[in-house]
Amino acid sequence: MTLTGEKQHITIDRGQSETIVLTVADTNADLEITINGGAELNLILKQTTVNAKALTTNTTINCEANSRINISTINIEPRNIANTLIVNLNGEGAEATLNGLYVAGAGGAIENRTEIHHHAAHCTSTELYKGILDGNAVAKFAGLIQVAPGAQKTAARQTNRHLLLSPDAHGYAQPHLIINADDVKCSHGATSGQIDREQLFYMQQRGIDAATAQRLLVAAFANEVVALIPDEATRQELTALLSADV
């Protein structure tokens, strides 16, 4: 499915399970998704920039009781992309998995803003966003987790990791937790690091040239997210892309 700029509504009916791969090329996107009780949606959002100067994507997902959303946001070589993803966990037992992978080079700018609102009890949210930044790329991840009063037994985990391949690349993390219930498990973690010199040297000592070694290490970093994407074709495409060049 390829998106145009207009607002799209997607509803997954009660008890249904669907996988949707959306390609967003050179256009803004505005999505409103409702996942009814017990339904399940795997959504893969692939954004590419060819000619456009700046792009935005706004996605709102409403999850009813015991529904599941698994969304993967993939940005390869973005120029200037700002994404906002809002997930409302409205019914008890809803589960949200948000994964993100962005690979940005010189001149690239990518912002991922996520909001997960735990409105009901016994909901789970898991977020893993990883970014590989080269050149003077700038990436920002801003993640809000909000737990409403009464949303007891909430389990929320947010992780954001940046791998910086150049001293001019910048990765910013802004975790934000607002918790208004007392029986919850919420955590967040953010790291920013470079290629591990010891790992690089070990690989070079085995005869692997520095560029190939770096490529293997970058692919390994990304693979944690790639492995979670519930679509075989996308996984293969990303694996091939990451092993070929960065």
Partner: protein
Amino acid sequence: MLTIKNLHAAIDGKEILRGIDLEIKAGETHAIMGPNGSGKSTLSAVLAGNPLFTVTEGSATFNGKDLLAMSPEDRANEGLFLSFQYPVEIPGVSMTNFLRAAVNGKRKYRGEEPLSAGDFLKLMREKKKLVEIDSNLTNRAVNEGFSGGEKKKNEIFQMAMLEPTLRILDETDSGLDIDALRIVANGVTKLKNEQNATIVITHYQRLLDYIVPDFIHILYKGRIVMTGTKELALELEEKGYDWIKEKYQD
């Protein structure tokens, strides 16, 4: 094969090696012993090209080429292999991908075609058998979650895959129980031939019962202060390093 002359090296401005001279010929096994902090591991790191260390003086010639001018990967592809004291874990990189990159890196360096997937897997199977490495270790990420003994066995397995001419074993015996030590030492011995040479760096004499050296060098304060045959190791085992320290105080 390897000629080291007056080698000096430093880390963070601190001189660790202070004039090493060493000549190693094909077919020979040399042991380098010495108290902690004498520079044994630094010597292996400098020969392998670890960028943390700076060579400040001297030379090292490997098969007629200037070793110190080469990148770490070129040194490896010329035939130098370092079995690390602390092999690093590389989560997310499978042993298979890692070894295929290494084997094909060497073939590319020599102007050879990469191995086909089938030939590569066959080579892995043969070498696994040779060094008695557990099959499931090679299905995992490089060294990830391996025990100390498994890591050292994996170093020897990689050595078997790459068939280096100069094998440097940095404290290969540290952290090994007697069974693992025997497997590791057997691997090193099986892979020995008239075309390769071995440098065994060790603190204790124990490993030298399994890998018998032709020469033993004692490194102290960044210099080789004494060279002898295997009897010297027994003397050290008996007397410790204190008499060396006393004799060679500067």
